[in-house]
Protein backbone atom coordinates (compact mmCIF):
# COMPACT_ATOMS: atom_id res chain seq x y z
CA UNK A 1 0.00 0.00 0.00
CA UNK A 2 2.94 2.26 0.59
CA UNK A 3 3.71 2.31 -3.13
CA UNK A 4 0.23 3.61 -3.84
CA UNK A 5 0.30 6.58 -1.56
CA UNK A 6 1.86 8.94 -4.07
CA UNK A 7 -1.21 8.43 -6.20
CA UNK A 8 -4.05 8.13 -3.77
CA UNK A 9 -6.77 7.72 -6.37
CA UNK A 10 -5.49 4.35 -7.48
CA UNK A 11 -6.08 2.71 -4.15
CA UNK A 12 -9.71 3.70 -3.70
CA UNK A 13 -12.83 2.19 -5.16
CA UNK A 14 -13.97 3.73 -8.44
CA UNK A 15 -17.09 5.07 -6.75
CA UNK A 16 -14.89 6.94 -4.31
CA UNK A 17 -12.49 8.21 -6.88
CA UNK A 18 -11.71 11.50 -5.34
CA UNK A 19 -8.73 13.46 -6.42
CA UNK A 20 -6.04 14.00 -3.89
CA UNK A 21 -6.97 17.33 -2.46
CA UNK A 22 -3.68 18.19 -0.91
CA UNK A 23 -1.90 21.18 -2.26
CA UNK A 24 1.72 22.11 -1.69
CA UNK A 25 2.31 23.30 1.85
CA UNK A 26 3.14 26.98 2.07
CA UNK A 27 6.60 27.72 3.43
CA UNK A 28 6.62 27.38 7.19
CA UNK A 29 7.28 31.10 7.83
CA UNK A 30 3.94 31.88 6.17
CA UNK A 31 2.02 29.48 8.40
CA UNK A 32 0.11 31.09 11.22
CA UNK A 33 -0.02 29.07 14.42
CA UNK A 34 -3.54 28.70 15.70
CA UNK A 35 -3.00 26.08 18.42
CA UNK A 36 0.16 25.47 20.36
CA UNK A 37 -0.24 22.29 22.35
CA UNK A 38 2.38 21.75 25.04
CA UNK A 39 2.80 18.60 27.12
CA UNK A 40 -0.88 17.80 27.21
CA UNK A 41 -1.88 14.72 29.17
CA UNK A 42 -5.51 13.70 29.55
CA UNK A 43 -6.87 11.47 32.30
CA UNK A 44 -10.21 9.81 32.84
CA UNK A 45 -10.75 8.94 36.48
CA UNK A 46 -7.03 9.33 37.15
CA UNK A 47 -5.97 6.98 34.32
CA UNK A 48 -4.01 8.33 31.39
CA UNK A 49 -5.82 8.34 28.07
CA UNK A 50 -3.17 10.51 26.49
CA UNK A 51 0.35 11.36 27.61
CA UNK A 52 2.54 14.32 26.89
CA UNK A 53 1.33 15.57 23.52
CA UNK A 54 3.00 18.62 22.01
CA UNK A 55 2.28 19.95 18.54
CA UNK A 56 1.28 23.04 16.62
CA UNK A 57 -1.78 23.40 14.43
CA UNK A 58 -1.75 25.96 11.65
CA UNK A 59 -4.39 28.28 10.34
CA UNK A 60 -6.26 27.40 7.13
CA UNK A 61 -4.72 23.98 6.90
CA UNK A 62 -6.55 20.70 7.27
CA UNK A 63 -4.87 18.75 10.01
CA UNK A 64 -5.67 15.06 10.32
CA UNK A 65 -5.28 13.00 13.45
CA UNK A 66 -4.93 9.30 12.69
CA UNK A 67 -4.19 6.23 14.73
CA UNK A 68 -5.63 2.96 15.98
CA UNK A 69 -8.58 2.68 18.34
CA UNK A 70 -7.79 3.71 21.88
CA UNK A 71 -4.88 5.95 20.91
CA UNK A 72 -6.57 9.01 22.37
CA UNK A 73 -7.18 10.86 19.11
CA UNK A 74 -10.77 11.78 19.97
CA UNK A 75 -9.73 12.71 23.49
CA UNK A 76 -7.11 14.95 21.96
CA UNK A 77 -9.39 17.01 19.73
CA UNK A 78 -12.01 17.23 22.47
CA UNK A 79 -9.32 18.95 24.55
CA UNK A 80 -9.04 21.64 21.88
CA UNK A 81 -12.53 23.01 22.59
CA UNK A 82 -12.79 21.95 26.24
CA UNK A 83 -15.48 19.45 25.27
CA UNK A 84 -14.06 16.94 27.74
CA UNK A 85 -15.07 19.27 30.56
CA UNK A 86 -18.53 17.72 30.42
CA UNK A 87 -17.15 14.21 30.97
CA UNK A 88 -17.25 13.27 34.66
CA UNK A 89 -13.84 12.38 36.06
CA UNK A 90 -11.88 14.04 33.26
CA UNK A 91 -8.73 15.98 34.09
CA UNK A 92 -5.90 17.29 31.97
CA UNK A 93 -2.48 18.78 32.43
CA UNK A 94 -0.30 20.84 30.11
CA UNK A 95 -1.29 23.91 28.16
CA UNK A 96 -3.12 24.56 24.92
CA UNK A 97 -2.62 28.03 23.50
CA UNK A 98 -5.18 29.28 21.02
CA UNK A 99 -3.87 32.38 19.24
CA UNK A 100 -1.40 32.64 22.11
CA UNK A 101 -4.00 32.50 24.86
CA UNK A 102 -4.00 29.58 27.25
CA UNK A 103 -7.48 28.11 26.92
CA UNK A 104 -6.92 25.43 29.53
CA UNK A 105 -6.57 27.98 32.34
CA UNK A 106 -9.18 27.69 35.07
CA UNK A 107 -10.46 31.24 34.53
CA UNK A 108 -11.21 30.67 30.83
CA UNK A 109 -14.90 30.07 30.19
CA UNK A 110 -15.30 26.92 28.07
CA UNK A 111 -18.42 28.48 26.54
CA UNK A 112 -16.25 31.25 25.06
CA UNK A 113 -13.74 28.68 23.77
CA UNK A 114 -16.44 26.63 22.06
CA UNK A 115 -17.93 29.78 20.58
CA UNK A 116 -14.75 30.07 18.47
CA UNK A 117 -13.98 26.41 18.05
CA UNK A 118 -16.89 24.42 16.69
CA UNK A 119 -17.24 20.68 16.53
CA UNK A 120 -18.84 17.99 14.38
CA UNK A 121 -19.28 14.62 16.02
CA UNK A 122 -18.86 11.03 14.99
CA UNK A 123 -22.56 10.32 14.77
CA UNK A 124 -24.88 12.93 13.26
CA UNK A 125 -26.66 14.62 16.15
CA UNK A 126 -29.19 17.06 14.70
CA UNK A 127 -31.53 18.69 17.19
CA UNK A 128 -35.07 17.30 17.22
CA UNK A 129 -36.20 20.43 15.41
CA UNK A 130 -36.81 21.37 11.80
CA UNK A 131 -33.95 21.59 9.30
CA UNK A 132 -34.21 25.38 9.40
CA UNK A 133 -34.33 25.57 13.20
CA UNK A 134 -31.33 23.29 13.57
CA UNK A 135 -29.26 26.12 12.17
CA UNK A 136 -31.35 29.10 13.24
CA UNK A 137 -31.57 28.07 16.90
CA UNK A 138 -27.83 28.43 17.53
CA UNK A 139 -27.77 31.71 15.63
CA UNK A 140 -30.63 33.10 17.69
CA UNK A 141 -29.19 31.99 21.01
CA UNK A 142 -25.82 33.48 20.12
CA UNK A 143 -27.41 36.80 19.11
CA UNK A 144 -26.79 36.52 15.36
CA UNK A 145 -30.35 37.49 14.55
CA UNK A 146 -29.70 39.85 11.65
CA UNK A 147 -30.45 38.28 8.28
CA UNK A 148 -31.32 34.97 9.89
CA UNK A 149 -32.69 33.44 6.73
CA UNK A 150 -29.67 34.52 4.71
CA UNK A 151 -27.32 33.02 7.27
CA UNK A 152 -29.20 29.74 7.29
CA UNK A 153 -29.15 29.60 3.51
CA UNK A 154 -25.44 30.41 3.27
CA UNK A 155 -24.56 27.74 5.83
CA UNK A 156 -26.62 25.15 3.95
CA UNK A 157 -25.02 26.17 0.65
CA UNK A 158 -21.54 25.92 2.17
CA UNK A 159 -22.36 22.50 3.53
CA UNK A 160 -23.57 21.43 0.06
CA UNK A 161 -27.03 20.65 1.38
CA UNK A 162 -29.07 23.61 0.16
CA UNK A 163 -30.28 22.09 -3.11
CA UNK A 164 -31.49 18.98 -1.35
CA UNK A 165 -33.42 20.72 1.43
CA UNK A 166 -34.41 24.16 0.16
CA UNK A 167 -38.00 23.02 -0.50
CA UNK A 168 -38.50 21.41 2.88
CA UNK A 169 -36.76 23.58 5.43
CA UNK A 170 -39.63 23.05 7.86
CA UNK A 171 -39.32 19.26 7.74
CA UNK A 172 -37.86 17.58 10.81
CA UNK A 173 -34.10 17.14 10.61
CA UNK A 174 -34.39 13.48 11.59
CA UNK A 175 -36.21 12.82 8.31
CA UNK A 176 -32.92 13.39 6.44
CA UNK A 177 -30.56 10.55 5.55
CA UNK A 178 -27.47 9.97 7.69
CA UNK A 179 -25.17 11.75 5.26
CA UNK A 180 -27.56 14.69 4.95
CA UNK A 181 -27.86 14.87 8.74
CA UNK A 182 -24.10 15.04 9.07
CA UNK A 183 -23.90 17.82 6.47
CA UNK A 184 -26.64 19.60 8.42
CA UNK A 185 -24.49 19.28 11.53
CA UNK A 186 -21.59 20.79 9.61
CA UNK A 187 -23.85 23.61 8.39
CA UNK A 188 -24.97 24.18 11.99
CA UNK A 189 -21.35 24.35 13.14
CA UNK A 190 -20.19 26.78 10.44
CA UNK A 191 -23.31 28.97 10.57
CA UNK A 192 -22.15 30.50 13.84
CA UNK A 193 -18.89 31.49 12.12
CA UNK A 194 -16.31 29.69 14.18
CA UNK A 195 -12.61 30.07 13.62
CA UNK A 196 -11.82 26.37 13.82
CA UNK A 197 -13.99 23.35 13.08
CA UNK A 198 -13.05 20.15 14.87
CA UNK A 199 -14.31 16.96 13.26
CA UNK A 200 -14.38 13.77 15.27
CA UNK A 201 -14.55 10.97 12.69
CA UNK A 202 -17.33 12.80 10.84
CA UNK A 203 -17.68 10.16 8.14
CA UNK A 204 -17.33 6.97 10.14
CA UNK A 205 -21.10 6.37 10.22
CA UNK A 206 -21.60 7.29 6.56
CA UNK A 207 -21.52 5.49 3.24
CA UNK A 208 -18.78 6.25 0.68
CA UNK A 209 -20.86 8.71 -1.33
CA UNK A 210 -21.82 10.77 1.71
CA UNK A 211 -18.19 10.59 2.81
CA UNK A 212 -17.05 11.98 -0.52
CA UNK A 213 -19.57 14.83 -0.21
CA UNK A 214 -18.19 15.78 3.18
CA UNK A 215 -14.61 15.65 1.99
CA UNK A 216 -15.57 17.85 -0.95
CA UNK A 217 -17.08 20.46 1.32
CA UNK A 218 -14.09 20.49 3.65
CA UNK A 219 -11.94 21.00 0.60
CA UNK A 220 -14.14 23.89 -0.55
CA UNK A 221 -14.16 25.56 2.86
CA UNK A 222 -10.56 25.21 3.87
CA UNK A 223 -9.59 28.76 2.99
CA UNK A 224 -12.20 30.11 5.38
CA UNK A 225 -11.79 27.73 8.29
CA UNK A 226 -9.18 25.67 10.01
CA UNK A 227 -10.15 22.03 10.16
CA UNK A 228 -8.85 19.40 12.53
CA UNK A 229 -10.20 16.01 11.59
CA UNK A 230 -9.92 12.74 13.46
CA UNK A 231 -10.19 9.77 11.17
CA UNK A 232 -9.22 6.14 11.18
CA UNK A 233 -9.57 6.08 7.45
CA UNK A 234 -6.01 6.57 6.28
CA UNK A 235 -6.98 7.21 2.67
CA UNK A 236 -9.17 10.02 3.89
CA UNK A 237 -6.26 11.62 5.72
CA UNK A 238 -4.03 11.13 2.70
CA UNK A 239 -6.57 12.71 0.34
CA UNK A 240 -7.57 15.58 2.51
CA UNK A 241 -5.04 16.68 5.07
CA UNK A 242 -2.12 19.04 4.76
CA UNK A 243 -0.63 17.93 8.05
CA UNK A 244 -1.08 14.56 9.73
CA UNK A 245 -0.50 13.58 13.33
CA UNK A 246 -0.12 9.90 14.04
CA UNK A 247 -1.11 8.76 17.52
CA UNK A 248 -0.54 5.29 18.84
CA UNK A 249 -1.12 3.17 21.89
CA UNK A 250 1.85 2.89 24.21
CA UNK A 251 2.36 0.69 27.25
CA UNK A 252 3.62 2.06 30.53
CA UNK A 253 5.92 0.39 33.04
CA UNK A 254 3.04 -1.39 34.73
CA UNK A 255 1.42 -2.52 31.51
CA UNK A 256 -1.15 0.29 31.48
CA UNK A 257 -2.13 1.53 28.05
CA UNK A 258 -2.30 5.13 27.01
CA UNK A 259 -2.23 7.15 23.81
CA UNK A 260 0.73 9.18 22.65
CA UNK A 261 1.74 11.27 19.67
CA UNK A 262 4.23 9.32 17.60
CA UNK A 263 4.84 11.60 14.68
CA UNK A 264 3.51 14.85 13.30
CA UNK A 265 4.49 16.11 9.91
CA UNK A 266 3.29 17.06 6.45
CA UNK A 267 0.84 14.42 5.22
CA UNK A 268 3.10 13.67 2.25
CA UNK A 269 5.94 12.86 4.61
CA UNK A 270 3.84 10.75 6.99
CA UNK A 271 2.57 8.57 4.18
CA UNK A 272 5.69 8.30 2.04
CA UNK A 273 8.71 8.73 4.29
CA UNK A 274 7.72 8.49 7.93
CA UNK A 275 10.50 8.99 10.43
CA UNK A 276 9.18 6.56 13.01
CA UNK A 277 8.95 2.82 12.27
CA UNK A 278 5.61 2.67 14.15
CA UNK A 279 4.15 5.19 11.72
CA UNK A 280 5.45 3.21 8.80
CA UNK A 281 3.93 0.00 10.19
CA UNK A 282 0.59 1.71 10.60
CA UNK A 283 0.35 3.48 7.26
CA UNK A 284 1.52 0.39 5.38
CA UNK A 285 -1.04 -1.79 7.14
CA UNK A 286 1.46 -3.83 9.11
CA UNK A 287 0.06 -2.57 12.36
CA UNK A 288 -0.84 -4.98 15.16
Amino acid sequence: MKEGTDDVTTMTEPALRVQTRRRPLPPSERLERIFTVENVSALYGGRHALKDVSLEIHKNLITAVIGPSGCGKSTFIRCLNRMNDVVPGFTMTGTIRYHGQNITAADVDPVAVRRNIGMVFQRPNPFPKSIYDNIAWGLKVLGMRDDLEGRVERALVQAALWDEVKDRLKAPAVSLSGGQQQRLCIARAIAVEPDVVLMDEPASALDPIATAAIEQLMHDLRDEYTFVIVTHNMQQAARLADMTAFFSVARGDEGERFGELVEYDATEKIFTAPADPRTEDYVTGRFG
Binding site: M83, G118, W137
Partner: protein
Protein backbone atom coordinates in the same frame (compact mmCIF):
# COMPACT_ATOMS: atom_id res chain seq x y z
CA UNK B 1 -20.69 -36.24 29.00
CA UNK B 2 -23.16 -38.68 27.51
CA UNK B 3 -25.63 -37.73 30.28
CA UNK B 4 -26.37 -34.59 28.29
CA UNK B 5 -27.55 -36.58 25.33
CA UNK B 6 -31.02 -36.06 23.96
CA UNK B 7 -32.26 -39.63 24.06
CA UNK B 8 -35.08 -40.44 26.47
CA UNK B 9 -32.80 -42.52 28.68
CA UNK B 10 -30.25 -39.79 28.83
CA UNK B 11 -32.95 -37.29 29.73
CA UNK B 12 -34.16 -39.46 32.60
CA UNK B 13 -30.61 -39.86 33.82
CA UNK B 14 -30.36 -36.09 33.77
CA UNK B 15 -33.57 -35.81 35.86
CA UNK B 16 -34.96 -33.71 33.05
CA UNK B 17 -38.64 -34.61 33.68
CA UNK B 18 -38.31 -33.46 37.29
CA UNK B 19 -36.61 -30.22 36.31
CA UNK B 20 -39.24 -29.59 33.71
CA UNK B 21 -41.99 -30.11 36.31
CA UNK B 22 -40.35 -27.71 38.77
CA UNK B 23 -40.05 -25.17 36.02
CA UNK B 24 -43.75 -25.50 35.18
CA UNK B 25 -44.71 -25.21 38.84
CA UNK B 26 -42.72 -22.01 39.34
CA UNK B 27 -44.12 -20.51 36.17
CA UNK B 28 -47.64 -21.35 37.30
CA UNK B 29 -47.06 -19.82 40.76
CA UNK B 30 -45.74 -16.62 39.25
CA UNK B 31 -48.65 -16.39 36.83
CA UNK B 32 -51.10 -17.08 39.64
CA UNK B 33 -49.62 -14.27 41.74
CA UNK B 34 -49.92 -11.86 38.85
CA UNK B 35 -53.52 -12.97 38.39
CA UNK B 36 -54.19 -12.41 42.10
CA UNK B 37 -52.99 -8.80 41.87
CA UNK B 38 -55.33 -8.14 38.95
CA UNK B 39 -58.16 -9.98 40.71
CA UNK B 40 -57.73 -7.84 43.82
CA UNK B 41 -57.97 -4.67 41.76
CA UNK B 42 -61.03 -5.92 39.90
CA UNK B 43 -62.70 -7.00 43.12
CA UNK B 44 -61.97 -3.64 44.73
CA UNK B 45 -63.32 -1.67 41.79
CA UNK B 46 -66.36 -3.94 41.54
CA UNK B 47 -67.30 -3.81 45.23
CA UNK B 48 -66.87 -0.04 45.46
CA UNK B 49 -68.82 0.58 42.27
CA UNK B 50 -71.61 -1.84 43.27
CA UNK B 51 -72.18 -0.10 46.58
CA UNK B 52 -71.82 3.36 45.09
CA UNK B 53 -73.95 2.82 41.99
CA UNK B 54 -77.23 3.65 43.76
CA UNK B 55 -76.16 7.16 44.67
CA UNK B 56 -74.08 7.80 41.58
CA UNK B 57 -75.93 10.67 39.93
CA UNK B 58 -75.42 14.26 38.95
CA UNK B 59 -76.62 15.51 42.34
CA UNK B 60 -73.54 13.97 43.90
CA UNK B 61 -71.37 16.26 41.83
CA UNK B 62 -73.54 19.38 41.76
CA UNK B 63 -75.21 19.65 45.16
CA UNK B 64 -73.60 20.36 48.50
CA UNK B 65 -74.45 18.61 51.76
CA UNK B 66 -77.81 19.70 53.17
CA UNK B 67 -76.86 20.31 56.82
CA UNK B 68 -74.96 23.16 58.41
CA UNK B 69 -71.80 21.09 58.69
CA UNK B 70 -70.54 18.53 56.30
CA UNK B 71 -70.62 15.84 58.98
CA UNK B 72 -74.16 16.42 60.32
CA UNK B 73 -76.24 16.59 57.22
CA UNK B 74 -79.18 14.89 55.78
CA UNK B 75 -77.25 14.78 52.63
CA UNK B 76 -77.76 15.48 49.02
CA UNK B 77 -74.33 15.67 47.41
CA UNK B 78 -70.58 16.08 47.61
CA UNK B 79 -70.18 19.16 45.42
CA UNK B 80 -68.14 21.01 48.04
CA UNK B 81 -65.73 18.08 48.26
CA UNK B 82 -65.22 17.87 44.50
CA UNK B 83 -64.71 21.63 44.22
CA UNK B 84 -62.30 21.61 47.16
CA UNK B 85 -60.30 18.67 45.82
CA UNK B 86 -59.98 20.40 42.47
CA UNK B 87 -58.64 23.60 44.07
CA UNK B 88 -56.32 21.68 46.41
CA UNK B 89 -54.83 19.51 43.68
CA UNK B 90 -54.38 22.39 41.23
CA UNK B 91 -52.68 24.50 43.90
CA UNK B 92 -50.49 21.59 45.01
CA UNK B 93 -49.45 20.94 41.41
CA UNK B 94 -48.65 24.62 40.92
CA UNK B 95 -46.37 24.45 43.96
CA UNK B 96 -44.72 21.06 43.34
CA UNK B 97 -44.27 21.18 39.57
CA UNK B 98 -41.75 24.03 39.20
CA UNK B 99 -39.73 22.98 42.23
CA UNK B 100 -39.77 19.34 41.15
CA UNK B 101 -38.65 20.14 37.59
CA UNK B 102 -35.91 22.49 38.74
CA UNK B 103 -34.71 19.94 41.29
CA UNK B 104 -34.50 17.29 38.59
CA UNK B 105 -32.73 19.67 36.19
CA UNK B 106 -30.21 20.57 38.85
CA UNK B 107 -29.53 16.94 39.68
CA UNK B 108 -29.21 15.62 36.13
CA UNK B 109 -27.62 18.59 34.40
CA UNK B 110 -25.54 20.49 36.90
CA UNK B 111 -24.89 18.65 40.18
CA UNK B 112 -21.72 16.67 40.86
CA UNK B 113 -22.32 12.90 41.09
CA UNK B 114 -21.83 12.94 44.89
CA UNK B 115 -24.39 15.71 45.40
CA UNK B 116 -26.75 13.94 43.02
CA UNK B 117 -26.56 10.77 45.11
CA UNK B 118 -27.30 12.58 48.36
CA UNK B 119 -30.20 14.63 47.01
CA UNK B 120 -31.72 11.67 45.15
CA UNK B 121 -31.63 9.69 48.38
CA UNK B 122 -33.30 12.63 50.11
CA UNK B 123 -36.06 12.60 47.49
CA UNK B 124 -36.57 8.86 47.98
CA UNK B 125 -36.80 9.30 51.74
CA UNK B 126 -39.26 12.17 51.30
CA UNK B 127 -41.26 9.91 49.03
CA UNK B 128 -41.39 7.34 51.81
CA UNK B 129 -42.49 9.72 54.56
CA UNK B 130 -45.98 8.66 55.70
CA UNK B 131 -48.68 11.07 54.58
CA UNK B 132 -49.91 11.54 58.15
CA UNK B 133 -46.44 12.74 59.18
CA UNK B 134 -46.48 15.29 56.36
CA UNK B 135 -49.91 16.35 57.65
CA UNK B 136 -48.64 16.89 61.19
CA UNK B 137 -45.57 18.72 59.89
CA UNK B 138 -47.66 21.16 57.87
CA UNK B 139 -50.09 21.48 60.78
CA UNK B 140 -47.23 22.63 63.01
CA UNK B 141 -45.75 24.82 60.30
CA UNK B 142 -48.78 26.58 58.80
CA UNK B 143 -51.93 25.76 60.76
CA UNK B 144 -51.04 26.38 64.41
CA UNK B 145 -51.90 30.00 65.20
CA UNK B 146 -53.38 30.65 61.75
CA UNK B 147 -56.06 28.05 61.40
CA UNK B 148 -56.70 25.59 58.61
CA UNK B 149 -56.67 26.70 55.01
CA UNK B 150 -56.74 25.37 51.49
CA UNK B 151 -53.19 26.68 51.09
CA UNK B 152 -51.96 24.60 54.02
CA UNK B 153 -53.70 21.52 52.61
CA UNK B 154 -52.29 22.14 49.15
CA UNK B 155 -48.83 22.63 50.62
CA UNK B 156 -49.09 19.28 52.39
CA UNK B 157 -50.13 17.62 49.12
CA UNK B 158 -47.29 19.40 47.31
CA UNK B 159 -44.80 17.86 49.78
CA UNK B 160 -46.02 14.45 48.64
CA UNK B 161 -45.96 15.40 44.94
CA UNK B 162 -42.49 16.92 44.91
CA UNK B 163 -40.44 13.70 45.05
CA UNK B 164 -42.75 12.01 42.52
CA UNK B 165 -42.45 14.84 40.00
CA UNK B 166 -38.70 15.22 40.54
CA UNK B 167 -38.01 11.51 40.20
CA UNK B 168 -40.15 11.15 37.08
CA UNK B 169 -38.47 14.17 35.51
CA UNK B 170 -35.00 12.84 36.34
CA UNK B 171 -35.83 9.56 34.66
CA UNK B 172 -36.89 11.19 31.42
CA UNK B 173 -33.99 13.67 31.44
CA UNK B 174 -31.63 10.71 31.68
CA UNK B 175 -33.16 9.41 28.43
CA UNK B 176 -32.23 12.57 26.51
CA UNK B 177 -29.11 11.58 24.57
CA UNK B 178 -25.85 13.19 25.70
CA UNK B 179 -25.02 13.82 22.03
CA UNK B 180 -27.75 16.49 21.87
CA UNK B 181 -26.28 18.34 24.84
CA UNK B 182 -22.84 18.10 23.26
CA UNK B 183 -24.15 19.40 19.93
CA UNK B 184 -25.50 22.49 21.63
CA UNK B 185 -22.50 23.06 23.91
CA UNK B 186 -20.15 22.72 20.92
CA UNK B 187 -21.86 25.72 19.31
CA UNK B 188 -20.79 27.81 22.27
CA UNK B 189 -24.25 27.85 23.78
CA UNK B 190 -24.14 28.24 27.59
CA UNK B 191 -25.23 25.16 29.58
CA UNK B 192 -28.43 26.73 30.92
CA UNK B 193 -29.59 27.67 27.41
CA UNK B 194 -28.78 24.14 26.29
CA UNK B 195 -30.93 22.80 29.10
CA UNK B 196 -33.80 25.14 28.38
CA UNK B 197 -33.74 24.99 24.58
CA UNK B 198 -32.69 21.41 23.84
CA UNK B 199 -32.99 19.14 26.87
CA UNK B 200 -36.22 20.32 28.47
CA UNK B 201 -38.39 20.24 25.30
CA UNK B 202 -37.37 16.59 24.88
CA UNK B 203 -38.48 15.83 28.41
CA UNK B 204 -41.89 17.54 28.38
CA UNK B 205 -43.80 14.34 27.68
CA UNK B 206 -42.19 12.56 30.59
CA UNK B 207 -42.75 15.47 32.91
CA UNK B 208 -46.45 15.54 32.03
CA UNK B 209 -46.62 11.80 32.68
CA UNK B 210 -44.93 12.09 36.07
CA UNK B 211 -47.15 14.98 37.05
CA UNK B 212 -50.28 13.12 36.02
CA UNK B 213 -49.28 10.15 38.16
CA UNK B 214 -48.52 12.45 41.08
CA UNK B 215 -51.94 14.11 40.67
CA UNK B 216 -53.62 10.70 40.69
CA UNK B 217 -51.73 9.82 43.84
CA UNK B 218 -52.46 12.93 45.90
CA UNK B 219 -56.08 13.28 44.76
CA UNK B 220 -56.80 10.31 46.99
CA UNK B 221 -54.76 11.41 50.00
CA UNK B 222 -56.71 11.89 53.23
CA UNK B 223 -54.15 12.01 56.01
CA UNK B 224 -52.34 15.24 55.07
CA UNK B 225 -55.68 17.06 54.81
CA UNK B 226 -57.18 15.98 58.12
CA UNK B 227 -55.05 18.45 60.07
CA UNK B 228 -54.78 21.12 57.45
CA UNK B 229 -58.03 21.46 55.53
CA UNK B 230 -60.94 19.55 57.03
CA UNK B 231 -63.03 21.81 59.30
CA UNK B 232 -65.42 23.07 56.68
CA UNK B 233 -68.94 24.32 56.20
CA UNK B 234 -71.39 22.64 53.89
CA UNK B 235 -71.31 25.26 51.15
CA UNK B 236 -69.28 24.97 47.96
CA UNK B 237 -66.13 27.06 48.41
CA UNK B 238 -63.36 27.83 45.94
CA UNK B 239 -61.39 30.06 48.30
CA UNK B 240 -58.16 28.46 49.46
CA UNK B 241 -57.74 31.01 52.24
CA UNK B 242 -60.25 28.96 54.19
CA UNK B 243 -60.31 25.25 54.78
CA UNK B 244 -61.64 23.36 51.77
CA UNK B 245 -63.48 20.07 51.80
CA UNK B 246 -61.93 17.29 49.75
CA UNK B 247 -63.26 14.02 48.34
CA UNK B 248 -61.21 11.64 50.51
CA UNK B 249 -61.93 13.56 53.73
CA UNK B 250 -65.62 13.80 52.83
CA UNK B 251 -65.72 10.03 52.23
CA UNK B 252 -64.09 9.49 55.60
CA UNK B 253 -66.53 11.78 57.39
CA UNK B 254 -69.64 10.45 55.66
CA UNK B 255 -68.67 6.88 56.45
CA UNK B 256 -68.52 7.79 60.15
CA UNK B 257 -72.15 8.92 60.14
CA UNK B 258 -75.19 6.87 61.11
CA UNK B 259 -77.26 7.80 58.04
CA UNK B 260 -77.21 4.95 55.48
CA UNK B 261 -77.81 7.41 52.61
CA UNK B 262 -74.54 9.08 53.55
CA UNK B 263 -72.82 5.71 53.49
CA UNK B 264 -74.08 5.11 50.00
CA UNK B 265 -72.93 8.57 48.97
CA UNK B 266 -69.49 7.86 50.38
CA UNK B 267 -69.34 4.75 48.21
CA UNK B 268 -70.47 6.76 45.20
CA UNK B 269 -67.83 9.42 45.81
CA UNK B 270 -65.25 6.65 46.23
CA UNK B 271 -66.33 5.27 42.86
CA UNK B 272 -65.81 8.66 41.22
CA UNK B 273 -62.40 9.05 42.89
CA UNK B 274 -61.37 5.57 41.79
CA UNK B 275 -62.49 6.23 38.24
CA UNK B 276 -60.51 9.47 38.20
CA UNK B 277 -57.37 7.72 39.42
CA UNK B 278 -57.74 4.88 36.93
CA UNK B 279 -58.27 7.25 34.03
CA UNK B 280 -55.34 9.52 34.94
CA UNK B 281 -53.03 6.53 35.45
CA UNK B 282 -53.98 5.14 32.05
CA UNK B 283 -53.54 8.54 30.45
CA UNK B 284 -50.12 8.84 32.09
CA UNK B 285 -49.09 5.50 30.68
CA UNK B 286 -50.22 6.45 27.19
CA UNK B 287 -48.34 9.76 27.44
CA UNK B 288 -45.21 7.99 28.67
CA UNK B 289 -45.25 5.58 25.75
CA UNK B 290 -45.72 8.44 23.34
CA UNK B 291 -42.87 10.56 24.70
CA UNK B 292 -40.53 7.56 24.83
CA UNK B 293 -41.25 6.92 21.15
CA UNK B 294 -40.51 10.55 20.35
CA UNK B 295 -37.17 10.51 22.14
CA UNK B 296 -36.28 7.22 20.48
CA UNK B 297 -36.79 8.64 16.99
CA UNK B 298 -34.68 11.69 17.73
CA UNK B 299 -31.71 9.64 18.87
Amino acid sequence: MSAHGITRAAQRADRLPRRRAVNRLMEALAALSALLAIALLSLLVYSVARRGAAQLDLDLLTKGPAGAFSFTPTASGFANAFAGSLVLVVLATAMALPVGILTALYLTEFARPATRGVVSLGLDVLNGVPAIVVGIFVFGLLVVGRGQSGFAGAFALACLMLPLVARATMEVLALVPASLREASLALGVPPWRTTLGIVLPQAVGGIVTGTTLAVARVAGETAPLLFTSSLVGSGVSWNPQHALQSVPVAIFEASEQADPTLHAQAWAAATVLLAFILVTSLAARALAARSRRRIATSR
